[in-house]
Amino acid sequence: MDLRTQLSMSFHLDKCIGCHTCSVGCKNVWTTRQGAEYMWWNNVETKPGAGYPLTWEDQERYMGGWEVTSGGDLRLKLLKGPGKLRTLANIFFQPNLPTIDDYYEPFTFDYDNLFNAPAGDDQPVARPKSLITGEFMEKISIGPNWDDDFGGSPLYASNDPNLKGLSDSQKLMLTQFHKLFYFYFPRICNHCLNPACVASCPSGAIYKRGEDGIVLIDQEVCRAWRFCVSACPFKKPYFNWNTGKSEKCIFCYPRTETAQANACAHSCTGRIRCVGVLMYDADKIEDVAKQPDDRLVEAMRDAILDPNDPAVIAEARKNGVEDNWIKAAQQSPIYNLFKKWRIAFPHHPEFRTVPMNYYVPPLSPILHQAKGDQGGTYDPESSEFFNDVELMRIPLKYLANLLTAGNESLILESLKKQMAVRMYVRQNRVGDVGDAKVKSALDACGLSEVDAEDIYRLVSLATFKERFVIPEMHRESKTSVDPRTMYEKRGSIGFGRKNREFLGRQW
């Protein structure tokens, strides 16, 4: 066993209201620089939808992630055929690289014109202006969140790769105003255990930090080969067209090192996010990544270790995990959501990067398809407040494609548990469900009343301290890498060029 620790984030999809406060919080802190305008290290997508960059989940096009070869080896999809030799062949031109048009051309508006336009017959307008070329743009045809709230659009939603395997009537629902479903899906880098970005980088610039598992791009070593952008199936490394370096979500490590919550999680108005520590067995990573699709999530759960098990604690001490990290792991909301209660799932485990952020699938809308002649099952005259989760409006298959590599039984388990907790809480507060019914619902999904109470507390009442259990890192005392003191290191974190100009370029 090789025990390691990882910082991880969870997202409760039912609670996300699609306000993009998280994206803006992140942007304000990290990506308001030239070349980074189009980067959204945190972005929120409408699902079903085409996503950002457009159709990023379509790996036939982008070749992101891993595949298991017929010989049983793990290989980057990008390196089909000759394997790593392909890196040399494609180093001059990458066939699978998205271009700026798959994201959007960053723009501003010519606000000056509103104030300075000469008097005339027409109202002055602020025309859009490219932030790359400085030229006026004819019209803006794509931007971030271009398909926001377009859950039923034939242009965007119907191109969602997760719709595969849905029945025709389910697909038809997407085009019917009273039946369509959509929800929001916030995404950051998953800080994977088997990161495709690290594995694809020919310069060795990308690495995973041992202590907290954060995946970073060393800006001094990046040589702009751009393989990470293609290889990451989540399209979370972004190429800075101005500095010629790739950049990605840094999990706000300057904040988490000092036990502060990440900018996105901290600013989340829906309070949908938790951050916590997981302990895992690094020897199992390769094996997990090779599992057949329907086994992937369970294999990931097996690789996560129980932080209260004395043997695990002893192993953690042996591997140099500090006491505050062990304590944080024991209070980790992520451990509870993912492993103990089994209601959260990784995003697209079938990409085999073993992603380390977890999503609680949405239940809503509670009222599902309308009854009978509408083709639905909801009975408006029923005296029941809750209906069967199998009949919910969001098809199980869709959630399974998104979160469990197609395994519907896992999704069903999570939804049933969430529904049982709702019944439990309603019975406690309103009392119209009936004790027997609540008990049978809890028993059916294997939850105790204590669990139900804990889940209820974490997903609705939890305070900052309960949601964000982030141990300090004390990097200042770890001098094996860089012997400078923290005082000498000040100002060393950040992005962008050093300010030396030569031959028309700042180096």
Partner: protein, 237 residues
Amino acid sequence: MDWNSVLYGQLPYVIITIAVVGTIARYVTNAYSWSSQSSQFLENKVLFFGSFPWHFGIVLVLLAHIFAIFFPSAILSWNAVPFRLYALEVTGLILGLLALFGLIMFVYRRLTDSRVRAVTSTADVLVIIILLVQVISGVATAIYFNWGSNWFAASAVPWIWSIITFSPDVAFIAGLPLLAKIHIFNAMLFILLIPFSRFVHFLAIVGPIQYVFGRPYQLVRWYGPRGARTEPIRQYK
């Protein structure tokens, strides 16, 4: 004053010194600036027709030059059979034309695409001009002065070795046609520009070669007691 001996006897030392010291200094003080400065992200349609032909053409031609510098006699004995001489010359010419085609696409792209223009620096313009002069003079030499592979091995290579062994002897190349001399002089300008431009990116190929022939897929850096700066999680095949 004997221009030949200044340009081809003394200047090479100045240039090589600047290039070597400059390149090392840049790497040590500012590794951040070592980048291929790819602009594929902004424009990739024309680039496809530029980058592939350019790089494959120029890399092979360059390797051929280097091979000839180290094994001139191998080239000469290969060329002793006329058919083999023709084959070598024609291959070289085709590769040169391939590179030239790619380069012209580069120029076209830099001139016409406003996004690419926006990230073009003075250094980039110098780079393109020097490469254009180099490739055009090379291809023209190949066309107008036959059997360049022979006299490159017979006269330019001894001159290069005379430079390397610190006994510069310009007599080897004094008699070469002007076009060939331009080619050689421009090559020196190219070397001079290496530390000051994106040219350094061909030195950065060391990374990818290490990656392909040895490095494990995964890298982990530890700050604490595990000590090691980088460490493989595991080498997948």
